[in-house]
């Protein structure tokens, strides 16, 4: 039961932080308090889904490259990329998703907007794109460990940059927003699906998302293949 406590506390402190900020203003970047909570909840669902399915595996992969144990993976008659990404499930995070679902439900109950089937469909597409974007970004950074042995810091950097996606992109300068939608497309995790659901972003962002996923997939495949050639079993 205690395992799920940290995400709850994190969420409670985040809600308090937002409620304090909204004491002095009605909206931030054009987003209300409940809209921001919805964004927090949706981003957290994607984040926890990532921990459940692949983040822990990719961190283990980085350590296995460091220790030379990755050799054992390469000897297995499996798709190595799939194995290092989705080899094991971390079910401890599943319980924490419940907190986020509660937050999303609470936010939706307090928001006044009409649902339309096409917007919900686009939102669901947005969630799939969000999951693929975080996976491909994490995979690319984890693959860097095939070139630079101590690669765990890359993932840590990525996790830290997710903070940018916890708030509406309208608060950033234009060039920075473009940067976070293209070169480091983390705004596709929470901001884009939530923006589409709330009708704040046009549907064609999904099309951009598909292009980003395709681009990241090509880059990740190239880096992975080049990395495997570069791998020297640098065991310690």
């Amino acid at each position: 039961m205690l395992i799920g406590l940290a995400p709850i506390i994190w969420m409670v402190t985040t809600v308090i932080f937002l409620s304090v900020i909204f004491k002095g203003t009605k909206e931030i970047g054009g987003w209300s308090f409940w809209e921001l909570l919805l964004l927090t909840g949706i981003q957290e669902i994607i984040y926890l889904a990532s921990w459940t399915t692949f983040l822990g595996n990719l961190i283990n992969f980085i350590y296995s490259v460091d220790s030379g144990k990755f050799d054992l993976t390469l000897l297995r008659p499996v798709n190595h990329r799939f194995f290092v990404s989705f080899g094991a499930l971390d079910i401890t995070s599943i319980l924490s998703i419940v907190n986020s679902v509660v937050l999303v439900s609470l936010s939706l109950a307090n928001l006044k907007f009409s649902f339309s089937p096409d917007r919900i469909l686009l939102f669901l597409f947005g969630l799939i794109i969000a999951y693929l974007v975080i996976y491909l970004l994490s995979f690319i950074l984890a693959s860097f460990s095939l070139f630079w042995i101590k690669g765990e810091n890359f993932i840590r950097w990525l996790m830290e940059t997710l903070d940018f996606d916890r708030y509406p992109a309208e608060i950033y300068s234009d060039w920075f927003k473009v940067f976070l939608l293209t070169f480091l497309p983390i705004l596709f995790l929470g901001y884009v699906p939530t923006g589409i659901l709330l009708g704040k972003l046009p549907g064609y962002f999904i099309f951009f998302g598909i292009l980003i996923v395709a681009w990241l997939y090509i880059v990740s495949t190239l880096i992975w293949k080049k990395g495997l050639k570069n791998y020297q079993s640098a065991s310690i």
């Binding site: 406590l5 810091n153 950097w157």
Partner: protein, 263 residues
């Protein structure tokens, strides 16, 4: 005393050896600072004050929170708890050294090194962003540094207190992260205690965690009189005695209970 000085020197060398990793870790904190910059810019867009804060004083607060990261870090508690859990404590118990003093020497070396790097970071901010980051003058800055030596002691004792739980429960990891999220929040690590909602403000002002972030920042910002600072030092010493007393009691009970089965 010489043996602890030797531990201090070795720990210092360790910290220096991994300086690149350390700098990388420090740079990570700049990301959340940048996020805070954007959020508070948005909040201050149509207003001059938020509570008693101007945009510049809020940013100074946020930059100092990053600077004070070394005061509220919780790695020592986790490391000691690991040693207890894995039975590695036995190695120290058979040596003619005090385990806690050994760790304190190592803790000081690690923190002093980090403090030096963070002071450099602070002066870099001062040079690059003089409009958003205020410097109160060298005498007040030295007063903050003096106060931080006491805050570090509070942090060390609290960390040990948490680590001692490893004698009684299987794994403190389960509540360690949660506990230090609360500590960070109540220390004023996310928002200043004086703008927190009523109940949390009362709790924050009562607990010793405020001395790790909020109180030193307020000294820096010149919002406390000399009397208030002396009062703070007095309360800090009260907490040090309180934590020290219970820590000693818990530690002795824990060592009595300790079985070095290892893993």
């Amino acid at each position: 005393m010489r043996k602890y000085w030797a531990v201090f020197k070795i720990s210092w060398q360790n910290a220096v050896e991994y300086r690149a990793e350390f700098l990388g870790h420090m740079m990570l904190g700049l990301i959340s600072l940048l996020v805070m910059y954007f959020i508070w810019s948005a909040v201050f867009k149509n207003r001059e004050y938020f509570g008693n804060y101007t945009f510049s004083s809020m940013m100074t607060y946020m930059i100092l929170v990053r600077f004070l990261h070394f005061v509220k870090r919780s790695n020592v508690g986790r490391q000691i708890a690991e040693e207890i859990k894995e039975g590695r404590l036995s190695v120290y118990l058979t040596k003619p050294v005090s385990y806690l003093r050994w760790w304190f020497a190592s803790f000081l070396a690690d923190r002093f090194f980090e403090a030096l790097l963070r002071i450099l970071m602070l002066f870099t901010f001062l040079l690059l962003f003089p409009k958003v980051f205020n410097f109160p003058g060298i005498s007040r800055f030295l007063m903050v540094l003096f106060f931080l030596t006491i805050s570090l002691l509070v942090n060390f004792l609290f960390n040990l207190f948490v680590a001692t739980c490893a004698f009684f429960v299987t794994d403190i990891k389960l509540f360690h992260t949660s506990l230090f999220l609360i500590v960070d929040f109540l220390a004023g690590g996310q928002i200043p205690i004086d703008i927190m909602p009523g109940f949390l403000k009362t709790v924050g002002n009562f607990l010793p965690f405020q001395f790790m972030v909020f109180f030193p920042v307020k000294i820096y910002q010149g919002e406390f009189s000399l009397f208030q600072i002396l009062q703070g030092i007095f309360i800090c010493f009260f907490w040090i005695i309180f934590l020290g007393y219970f820590l000693r009691m818990f530690w002795l009970k824990g060592v009595e209970r300790y079985e070095a089965v290892g893993q």
